[in-house]
């Protein structure tokens, strides 16, 4: 199951060939390719990388369905080639899964992506897929996760069972990359609490339900922590990831009434060294059609809490996020998301901006910016305090 880069490409090629050979009437290709440019405002504190970074992305997706849509196959490889960081040049199989869906149940086999959660500022409950941190620090890009996933639909809710036979390690920026700590993470030396290492059989179960204005979910995960502890090696020349076995219970709740969304995510995580609780809770309120225009303006407020109270474990241990989401409702689907996460115990803050607009029918331009205002030396963000950057992406969808 451990594939080296060559094997990965061979598997990918085989899957693509297989996809091309399938009868085409119920099959389709879609996806996008993109050029991304990143500009860093300052010279790096830790890395020889300059202030400019150019990269290209190819993300095709093959879809085939049969049996009147009751069975389907998705194959979605992903490739980024980066001009600066060899680690950021990476390929992944985001999805390669077969699905069979019946009235009362659904079975998903293969490499897939699953999203859990309701809040905007961080995603505590979302634990199935490993985060592709090198794609984007917003933790919303995920690596494909091998799984057997059975969902059962009942009047009293949906129950999903997951068996996760193989663990994906987190990818970190390399020596030539930015947005990294002073010491580079040496993923090849990763250590595990379980003797089975990446082959530990992780399992998860989730119940979710909607009643009137309420959407809720309760989940439990037992297995390899997606977030490694990073410990310096003996010569203090690199950081070694250590993956613990955890038990994590998650709860999600959303109330939707009129223009208000009220959201809550809570987790309780038990590792062999500690047990802690973390939560994100808040609201999103939208003014529709402001000033007699088509513009929607949403206000977002969330509180982020972690009872470890350890800025190194998470910088969001007692923070508030305030943001706005502006939707133009125009032909180009223009939108803007702007927010700041402010630490309540210091002056540290992280600013975030995301904007996008379609050009014609197949192109889309996106702008993202992250700005760090961090003075606390014991914060996990201190190492990337000079990595303020904006990135511009031009994508073509096919």
């Amino acid at each position: 199951m451990i594939l080296n880069v060559n094997d990965k490409w061979r598997v990918l090629l085989a899957l693509l060939l297989f996809a091309v050979m399938l009868p085409s009437h119920a099959s389709e290709w879609s996806g996008y390719s993109a050029v991304e440019y990143r500009y860093f405002q300052h010279q790096s504190l830790n890395s020889p990388a300059g202030q400019h970074d150019l990269s290209v992305v190819l993300a095709p997706e093959f879809y085939h369905q049969w049996h009147d849509g009751q069975q389907s196959l998705i194959i979605a490889p992903f490739l980024r080639v980066d001009s600066e960081d060899a680690e950021r040049s990476h390929a992944d199989l985001r999805e390669a899964r077969w699905l069979i869906a019946k009235d009362d149940w659904e079975l998903q086999l293969g490499i897939a992506k699953v999203y859990w959660g309701v809040t905007e500022s961080q995603h505590l409950v979302d634990v199935i897929n490993q985060t592709d941190l090198i794609e984007n620090t917003d933790t919303e890009d995920k690596l494909g996760q091998p799984m057997i996933n059975l969902s059962v639909f009942q009047d009293w809710g949906t129950v999903e069972l997951f068996v996760l036979p193989y663990f994906r390690e987190r990818i970190f920026a390399g020596k030539e990359g930015r947005l990294r700590s002073q010491l580079v993470v040496d993923s090849d030396k990763a250590q595990y609490e379980s003797a089975a290492k990446q082959h530990h059989l992780d399992v998860a179960v989730r119940w979710s339900h909607s009643i009137d204005d309420w959407d809720m979910a309760l989940s439990h995960f037992y297995g390899t922590n997606r977030e490694p502890l990073l410990q310096p090696n003996q010569s203090f020349t690199a950081l070694i990831p250590y993956y613990e076995i955890i038990n994590q219970t998650g709860f999600e709740l959303q109330n939707t009434s009129d223009s208000w969304l009220w959201k809550l995510e809570v987790i309780r995580r038990e590792t062999s060294s500690q047990t802690f609780t973390a939560l994100t809770g808040g609201f999103e309120y939208t003014f529709y059609g402001v000033f007699a225009s088509d513009l929607d303006v949403g206000l977002i407020g969330e509180y982020l809490f972690d009872d470890r109270n350890d800025e190194l474990a998470t910088p969001f241990e007692d923070d508030v996020m305030i943001g706005t989401r502006i939707t133009w409702n125009d032909e180009q689907s223009s939108e803007l998301l702007f927010g700041v996460i402010q630490d309540l115990d210091s002056s540290d803050a992280v600013w975030n901006i995301e904007a996008s607009r379609r050009i014609g029918s197949r192109w889309k331009v996106s702008l993202e910016g992250r700005f760090f205002s961090v003075a606390e030396t014991n914060s996990a963000l201190y190492q990337i305090r000079d990595d303020d950057h904006i990135q511009l992406e031009l994508a073509r969808y096919f």
């Binding site: 879609s30 309701v118 939707t256 009129d258 223009s259 939208t286 529709y288 059609g289 929607d296 409702n329």
Partner: protein, 260 residues
């Protein structure tokens, strides 16, 4: 003598109701007749091609697939999936519509694989940048409006009832609408929408009506012309299918992720 008394009492009982059929009652009766003629279709699916035109005549298109489930005594359920533009391909909406309480609505974002419950208060906003507002394409329920019969009128050679409707639900972008309904089949032929300042905002025309299962009429073409900004949007419907065996099970949150 007794017979006369009975007749007199009957007349007393009937006459006031005949005389007092007010414009409101007549308007409501027409709408109820129109609504009754469209009952029993159970479920439907169709493809929609939406063409947006700006003042200069520049066009852009959206391709959408729609499934609907008729719900007795409540609003219909609907599932909408986007094929075009390509950047929103696979994005899907699930709506449980209701007459006066807010609709329940979820969106599926394929890039994140995220199902998100969203507010349904956005009635008056444009649907995908078009001249159709969300309230223009949502399921029709008699209880959503008050009705007033205005007059009879010939529209494009068809004898029509002309009604005024006023929305009773919250967040509408309209004060009122004028609706033309043909007397032959009780189909909506035209709607004039008046904005919150009570001036004419948009005109919607329905054409190329086709009859399905020998009963249900659907307009293959709908055109919405904005009278204030010069933009227009045309909807072309195709591949209408009825009673395909869809059930409530096909309109649940879990189904959003599987739509393609």
């Amino acid at each position: 003598m007794r017979k006369w008394t009975v007749l007199f009492v009957l007349l007393l009982g009937i006459l006031p109701s005949v005389q007092a059929e007010t414009a409101q009652q007549k308007g409501l009766a027409i709408i109820i007749e129109s609504d009754n003629r469209d009952k029993g279709w159970q479920d439907s699916s169709a493809d929609m091609l939406m063409t947006l035109r700006n003042k200069k005549g520049r066009q852009s298109i959206r391709q959408i697939r729609v499934k609907n489930l008729e719900v007795e005594g409540d609003g219909d359920k609907g599932l909408t999936v986007f094929d075009q533009p390509r950047d929103v391909k696979g994005t899907a909406f699930l709506t449980y519509s209701h007459a006066l309480v807010p609709d329940e609505q979820w969106i599926f974002l394929p890039a994140l694989k995220r199902v998100k419950r969203i507010s349904s208060s956005n009635k008056s906003g444009p649907f995908m940048g078009s001249e159709f507002a969300y309230e223009d394409i949502s399921s029709f329920e008699v209880a959503k409006y008050s009705y007033l019969y205005l007059r009879d009128e010939i529209l494009d050679g068809q004898d029509c009832f002309v009604l005024e409707t006023r929305p009773l639900y919250k967040h509408s972008g309209y004060t009122k609408s004028t609706v033309w309904i043909d007397k032959d089949e009780y189909r909506i032929q035209k709607i004039d929408f008046y904005d919150r300042k009570d001036s004419l905002l948009k005109i919607q025309r329905f054409s190329d009506y086709q009859q399905y299962l020998g009963q249900y009429w659907r307009a293959d073409t709908m055109t919405m012309e904005n009278q204030q900004n010069g933009k227009s949007t045309t909807l072309k419907w195709s591949n209408y299918r009825f009673q395909t065996g869809l059930t409530a099970k096909d309109f649940e949150k879990n189904d959003l992720k599987r739509q393609r």
